[in-house]
Amino acid sequence: MSRANFLRVIVVSLLFALVLQPEWFAPIFEPFTPPGAVVIYDRTSLLSLSLSHLGIVAVASLAAIIVAVLLAILVTRPQGKAFLPLSRTIANMGQTFPPVAVLALAVPMLGFGAGPTLVALFLYGILPIFENTMTGLSTLPPATMEAARGIGLSRRQRLIQVELPLALPLILTGIRLSVVIAIGTATIGSTVAAHTLGEVIIAGLLTNNTSYVLQGGLIVGLFAVLIYDALTQLETHTRKRLGVM
């Protein structure tokens, strides 16, 4: 087993232990707990918080991927060309909106709970994927496109068999950026009463209980790092398969 894989196994086991058997870590967190306070977060099960956190991220990201890729295909076709400069500007300027601000602004419209978090993650998640897909589809090597046309592929065939596969690594980079931001923003979603791991951190901040902050922070951090790593691996794999490393 390579050193990287060994490290991955350790991190995954640590994460599982933290979520499923948090009491094991009580001696470690004990010194960070104020006298008389509870050491291990017990208001809700960490497993249900983790699942709900990942669920919100997954649903929002999936919707964002579908919408972003379809939109990017649309504006890179001849019929949608008039919208290309506009979409560039929207993608560029839209990403300057802070994710927290998007989240906070969604609350007045949708009330508290998982709703505004889902919508904010979805809206914000579209931009990096859209931008990268658009770049991928509009910077294809002209020689390849010429060859695809030359062997008689129709527009639709070119899109599915040539353009999308070639743009895939860039699309995946966009998805990775978007998912990592979503995991972080979902944490803040607990300030608007979404059921996420941010609850543990906020509870710690409110009661000055550092061990809660560390527990929540560690679990979210490990999830983020592992998902980032998995998506990076997927990207490297596709790049290698395409031979464009």
């Binding site: 960070f32 008039a82 919208f83 400069p85 506009l86 560039r88 500007t89 929207i90 560029n92 300027m93 990403q95 300057t96 909106f97 802070p98 994710p99 927290v100 601000a101 906070a104 602004l105 609350v107 007045p108 419209m109 990592v180 995991i183 972080g184 944490t187 803040i188 300030t191 608007v192 941010g198 951190i201 906020i202 710690g204 901040l205 550092t210 902050v213 560390l214 929540g216 922070g217 560690l218 979210v220 951090g221 983020a224 790092v225 980032y228």
Partner: protein
């Protein structure tokens, strides 16, 4: 649609005009009994008397119509300005007339119709501008005019009847404190990150081994969700403050400004270091060979060749950092670090929408202005022959 018309009418312009007409039917303003309860929507033709409404609505429609011709981009840009001016006129007239006889605690807030129309007109402006593609000087001038005109409208007091400005009037001092704190967090951490990141980037460029060690660690740190990072900084600094003698006297304590500042510096390091390395590597090998052939030392090559050529990429790194920090500094409001986030989270706690807006809008505007300014700087830093490539 026949082809001839299709080429005359701009596709996005047609989309904006149809969406804009629909948005005219959505509630333009909302009227509520006090600052907490949900307001009742008021359509644009009901917000004031006809003598005030008709010019405003005509202005919006003319603005949208001017966005249609695809050949005249400057006409389209003018159209967006006409439309936005009409929106401001409608707000001025509407907020004052709705409050008449509505009670002391009544509040007039911006409705979905207003926000949609504003977004549509701003997109029209952006679409026209991206086709006009003004140079860096023109863009700076446009940005300056936009800021000055908005500031004049705000200072004139014409909009003080709107709920968001009531919230502002109630906490004017706190607002300016928050603004300074927010700027201090975002720009201060940028300066510190640049001071650490540039030399580190230069060393990483020279030393392959160091780069292999530093960049993965920095991208790992960047992955940690912000709330977790801010949360972990608190106990860490509290511990430093209580164990290292003298640290507490220097202001190292667990809550407040410092943990937020430190977290922002940590997030900023990756874009600075990675872009410095990428910028230094952007110099073509032939150029470097020529410089070596002329007998330039390593230091001279760095200063006279690699830094000027890599400057646009390095500045692009600073743009990422600045925009990212302005957004992340909002979270400082959760851990007592101040900034506009204070209003956002207070507003969320009190379910006072306009207080949320008072924190969120300045943050968004600040981020936009910074992004546009940095984009202009990146373009100016580009060597002349590359600028229009």
């Amino acid at each position: 649609m026949p082809n001839r018309i299709k080429s005359v009418v701009s596709g996005p312009g047609l989309l904006f005009a149809s969406l804009g007409l629909v948005a005219l039917f959505a509630p333009f303003l909302t009227l509520a009994a006090n600052r907490i309860v949900a307001g009742e929507g008021v359509r644009v033709w009901d917000v004031a008397g006809p003598e005030a409404i008709i010019p405003g609505m005509v202005g919006v429609v003319i603005g949208l119509a001017l966005g249609l011709p695809s050949a005249w981009q400057s006409v389209r840009f003018t159209g967006s300005l006409v439309g936005i001016a009409a929106l401001v006129w409608l707000l001025m007239q509407g907020s004052t007339s709705l409050l008449e006889g509505a009670g002391t605690y009544a509040r007039v807030s911006l409705g979905s119709g207003f926000w949609c129309l504003l977004a549509i007109l701003l997109l029209l402006a952006a679409d026209a501008l991206s086709s006009l593609s003004p140079g860096p000087k023109m863009r700076s001038a446009l940005l300056a005019v936009a800021i000055i005109v908005s500031a004049l409208v705000l200072w004139s007091g014409a909009l003080t009847d709107l709920s968001i400005f009531r919230e502002y009037a109630n906490r004017q001092d706190a607002f300016f404190n928050a603004a300074w704190r927010h700027l201090g967090l975002a720009f201060g951490s940028l300066v510190v990150a640049a001071a650490i990141g540039f030399p580190l980037g230069v060393y990483c460029h020279r030393n392959q081994g160091l780069r292999g060690a530093v960049l993965p660690v920095l991208s790992f740190l960047q992955t940690i969700p912000s709330l977790a990072m801010f949360g972990i900084m608190i106990p860490l600094l509290a511990w430093v403050g209580s164990t290292i003698p003298g640290a507490r006297e220097l202001g190292v304590v667990g809550i407040g400004f410092l943990p937020a500042f430190l977290a922002l510096v940590i997030y900023s390091l990756l874009p600075v270091v990675a872009n410095t390395v990428a910028g230094l590597e952007a110099t073509p090998i032939l150029t470097l060979d020529a410089a070596r052939g002329m007998g330039m030392t390593r230091h001279q090559r760095l200063k006279q060749i690699q830094l000027p050529l890599g400057l646009p990429v390095m500045l692009a790194g600073l743009r990422i950092v600045l925009v990212q920090n302005i957004g992340l500094a909002v979270i400082a409001g959760l851990i007592g670090g101040g900034g506009f986030g204070t209003f956002v989270f207070q507003g969320l706690n009190q379910t006072a929408t306009d207080l949320i807006l008072l924190g969120a809008l300045p943050t968004v505007i600040l981020a936009l202005i910074s992004a546009i300014t940095m984009d202009i700087l990146v373009e100016l830093a580009r060597p002349n022959q590359m600028r229009h490539g």
